[in-house]
Every structure is written in structure tokens, then in C-alpha cells.
Subunit: 404 residues, 2 copies
Amino acid sequence: MAVNLSAPTRLAPIAGAEWAVGEAAIKKPGRNDMAVLKLADTATVAGVFTQNAFAAAPVRVAQRHSASGRVRALLINSGNANAGTGRRGEADALACCESVAAALSIEADEVLPFSTGVIGQHLPVERMQACIATLGARLTSDNWLDAAQAIMTTDTVPKGATRSVDIGDDTCVTLTGISKGSGMIRPDMATMLAFIATDAAIDADALDKALRAAMQGSFNAISVDGDTSTNDACIACATGTGATLAPTSPGWSAFVDALTDLARELAQAIVRDGEGATRFITLDVTGARDVDEARAVAFTVAHSPLVKTACFAGDPNWGRILAAVGRAPVQAFSIDRVAIALDDVAIVSDGEPRDDYAEVDAAAVMGQSEYTINIDLGRGDTSARIWTSDLSYEYVRINAEYRS
Amino acid sequence: MAVNLSAPTRLAPIAGAEWAVGEAAIKKPGRNDMAVLKLADTATVAGVFTQNAFAAAPVRVAQRHSASGRVRALLINSGNANAGTGRRGEADALACCESVAAALSIEADEVLPFSTGVIGQHLPVERMQACIATLGARLTSDNWLDAAQAIMTTDTVPKGATRSVDIGDDTCVTLTGISKGSGMIRPDMATMLAFIATDAAIDADALDKALRAAMQGSFNAISVDGDTSTNDACIACATGTGATLAPTSPGWSAFVDALTDLARELAQAIVRDGEGATRFITLDVTGARDVDEARAVAFTVAHSPLVKTACFAGDPNWGRILAAVGRAPVQAFSIDRVAIALDDVAIVSDGEPRDDYAEVDAAAVMGQSEYTINIDLGRGDTSARIWTSDLSYEYVRINAEYRS
């Protein structure tokens, strides 16, 4: 069902970043559901975590461990989110970190744990520890795609991307990332898991700054169903095996641009593989007074089940877009200057339907698998762009049957 | 598909309130799609209107006309919302008011127009005017059910209710109301149409106060899909043919209670007939610091597509409830004192799953057509109760095929 998305054909290795994957049969047997990423001891790590008040046990542990400043490995499992599992959930996450530490000869608080899958069930810790014990011998830098597959849940396509960026003086750094997620997707933050590594040497504060700069136009600009997960995180690792970069370096902005571009591709892949998605829709809101109101309008439209079902049907029922714009939390909002267009088909100008609008034109736009809904609020010069998917029968089926 | 809802068997006439219905074939022929309510010249009227910035043309006209202080008739059409229709939309609504004025020998600005149906199409004014011209001769006080049927759109069951309230001294007043709506339903305000009349004599200010008091626990406490309509309104009429009531009357609180109870039944009927609904779910949030945060949590859970699909499936995937609570916009929210129960099945206490929880018990609750999700935030003593429905294949079908 994924919209114009196929598995990545090439994910470049990153020196100093090695993956191993294995099967712990967490939800069911027959697939790899565990992955460990071992980082060079020169590595720095930055992370952005879910804003959900019910942050899952592994998120709380990962935040504590990353605050200690030294990270040598990431552990990810799919099939079980270890969320809503109370104190035992934290103990389980720590026990897995200890197994990784033993397998890789590092410290347990140098391991960041991540879990994704069903909420409210305890981890099968013993099976996971037995699997972890086998992973140290399987580490290799050329298996990002295996890792992308191991972290999938309802994803139908593994997600990954690579960028190479020239930072000057004939020096390149490489970035490779993978992501997972197709439901419970909305911003603030991150409603999915994403792991990005680069061989550049970047201090932790600068890496954190670069990652946060990359979020707004990527993982914090997508929505499938408006539900923020308890588990989500985006982690950036700089292994320090390549060229040194700092915010004062000539190549810094090129690096941040590449990181943003990579993050955007990974984030868009999640929307393209959104549960039941048949359309990939860009929402461009312009003419806002500030970015908060631009994003509020964009997400209100993106979350409207009526807009999403009209998109599924390819039905240019633009009144639903207008109604969603009208209920967005915008202060002192007048419709008199609002314009709406689908791609280049102008429908509404100055708050009224245009005389030259012909429904057949809008239907042609909405018949495509990808298009843009343009909304101009006509009250300022700030804009925001986000991406979303439609709401189909298949979304309901996937989420009604998820645990059966 | 409606959940435990059947057509009303008896809707008591209200002296001084007469309905006439007719067919203008607005969307398609074969049903009554126009209704006029003529009020005694002693009547007072109060109204609550949509908060959507894109209020439809008839809403804007009705607000202007009701501000003038004297209302003698309501005109309602289904099949076309006259929304997103610009200046011509207002002219069309006014033209219909003029036809009503001519038919009933009243003034056009004494007529409140209401429209419901598809957005963004112009009204077939000539057909509507031809129909209106025939309505004056058909007025009768004993056809509330006909009116309830004429205002239906995707509703599958006509909605109405009656209350008789003893206001002391062996004196009764009667209230009868009808409502419509099954999609684009969420509060603030009103996401549907409802028309309530009583024979009591109540001045306009007091009637307005009573209506607003009745809203919070009725029409402003329901959600089907989180979409606020451009057209919605709840109108209360006191025809003045019966006993006189004022806020200082001994019977006033009994009257307001009866109005609230009637409004709640009409509002709940809309949820029971929610598009594709297979469950009627009460959300009780307790232990909040104030009513705003209690309602914020309740509506965040009610709007979660993941919770709604789990409800459809009857799957006690309570982690989705927990995740939705966790992303509600509540300041300084800690999970440590949160409790969740389905009816009397306690699942989470102090933010953790209970040792005595057995999924089979929760599955039994969620297998019912009606149940309550109880969420105790454990941080205050304020509560809120709202009602919602589930998200089914049928919701997607109805809204994907609405215009075809």
C-alpha cells in the first residue's frame, strides 16, 4: 500500500558504526526483531524524544543514559514497546542494556534502549538476552538494511537513506539513516524511531543543535493519524572516524542541510508507508502571521478525518478543507482573505469559491497519488509545510486487527 | 448501524409552535428536505451557533436576524449546507427568508434560516421558493417527527425527545426538541442542528441563559470525528402560550434541568447515530485540576483514531488510551497517579498496570455496545463527562462516498 516508496537499494556504511541483528521471537517467530548498533569510542550522540507524558520505560532509560554523556551502543527491539509497563518495564530495559554491555564489553549506562510495538505487555527478557548474547559476533558496518528491516512493525517497506556531503577541501562526510513507523504518527516529537549516523567528528552539543535544526522540517512535520507515540525517538550519532566539523566550520551549513534532507526523506517515507495510505499529501500553508498558526492550520487539516476520507476517495469536497481551516485554533481569524488551491487549481480566493473553478480540474489533481493542498491565510508572510496521508478502509483494518 | 437508538414514538405538540415540511428535491427527489417552524407572536428565541471561522451563509444571516430580537419562524433545509458559497450564499439565504415571510405574512428579518448538507454548492433557490410557497397551508403542531425526518442528512434515525416538567402549583410546561447530525461532530459549538420548543413564557435573556447552561453537558460534550461543522446551531423557542417562568421562579431550576436532560438525549442520539458507529462510549475524566484539563483529556482520547479503531474491534488495547492521555495538552502532567478503568474493570493504578488485571475482563466490557472509559488523573477534584463513538469501516465508506 505504500505510496511511491520502495526499499532503499544502497545504504552506505559509516565507519565506526556497526549493526548486528537477530531473532528473539518477541511478538512471533520468523523474523529478526532485535538490532544493536555499536559505535566507535570516539562517537558523540544526540537524541530527541517523545513529548508524550507517558514516555515508555526504554525512553526514560535512554534519556537518563544519554544525559551521562557517553554512548557506545543502541539496542532496538520491535514487537513490543515496553510502554505502560511500570517499574518492571524499566528494570527489563536495564536488564537488556546489561546484556548488551556484557556482549560488547562496555558499560550498561553506555547503552540506549529503544522499543516499538504493542503497548502494555512486558518484554520477554530472557529470550531477548539470549539473542543479545549472540549479536556481538555478528557486528558489521554493511548491514543498515538488515537493521531497517529488524525495527519494522506495521511498516510494509524498510526505510533508509544515505547522503554524502562535500564539506570543502575535497573532504566528504557520509550520513546514513533508517527509520520505522506507520501509525501513531504526529509531531512533538517524534512518533517513530529513526537512527542516523555520520562518520564526521562533531562534539555532542553541536550535534544536538544540528539534529534539532533538522527536526522542524522533517519528523516534526508529518502526521498520519494525530496520535503521538509513547516511544518515539530520533538519534543522531557522529562516529568521529572522519573529518572534524563544528558550527564554525565552512562545511557546517552543508552538513546541517544534508542532515535535514536525509531526515526529511526518512520522515516522508513514514508517511508514504502510513497505515492504509493510498495518497501522499503535502500541506502548504502560507500567509500566516507566525509559524505556530501556520502549523496549527496545517495539522488541523491533516488530522481531519473528513478531509482524509475525501482524499482517499479522490473527491474534491474542498468544503471539508475550508471547514477544517475554519476550526483551526487561530486568533481573530477572518475568512475574507483565505485562498485554497489543489496543486495549481485555484478553488477559493478571498474566502469565496472562484467563478472559474471547475470541479473536473480538482478531481484530476486528487486522482493522483501525490499532490499539494495550498492554503493561503492572507494575513502575514510566514509559511509551514507538512506531509500527511489519507484515511482508508485499510487503516481501520490494520488498527482494528493489530493485536489479533 | 445506530447504537441502541430508535425513532421517537411520541413527540408532544407545543402550543404556539407549528411545523410544515415539503420537498424541494435539493440534493435528490423522493423525500421531504424543507421544514418551516412558525412561532406564536409571543415567542422568544435563543440560539447557540458554530464557532467555526467559516460560519456558513445561513448561520451569518440567522445570527443577524436573531440579534434583532424578534423571531417568528425558522426555515431549515437538508441536502445542501449553503457553506463556502460567498456573497451569493447570503443572498440565497435571504431570498428564502423572504419567501417564508411572504408565505406566513411576517417580515423576512423575523426568519432564521438553517441549512445542512454538502458544502460548497449553491442552493437551488427557485425550487426551494416554490416549495416554501406551499408550506403556509400545511402548518400543524403535531408533526415534530416529520420535521425530524426532513432535516436528516447521513442520519439513519430521526431524533427527537419530549419532557414535561412540573414547575409547581400543579402547573406543567412541556418541551419538545429534534436534532440531526452524525458526522462532523465535535463541540464548541454545536456540530449539528437542534430545535427545541417549550410552551413556557420566558423572556429572551433568561431563555438564552438556560440554553447556554444546558449546552456544556449535552451538545458541547459529544464528538464523533472531531470536525466542527460550518453550519451548526441549537435553537430554543419559548412560545409563551403556557405558564410564565423566570430565573426567580420556584420552577426555574426544574425547567433548566429538564432542558439539559432533553438536550443531552438529543446530543447522545447524534453520537448513537454517528457515522458508522457500532459503540456508544462514555468518557469520564475525574481528578482533574479544572474542567478545561478534564475536557482536554476526554476529547484527546475521544479523537484518537487508534483508540476508536480499538473500540470498533472490541480490543482492550488500553495502551492506546494511556498514550492518548499522555499526549493531552495538560501542564506539568505526571503519570504517577493516573488510573484507568473500563466500567468497573480497573486496569491501571498509580500509572502502572495492576497485578490483578485480566484482559478477559476488559474484553468483556469492550464487547458491549455501551460502556464507560474512566480516567482518573489523580491531581484534583474536577471531572468532565463526554460521549463518543468508534471508528469503523463504515465511517470511511460513508465519508468516501458521501457525494457520489
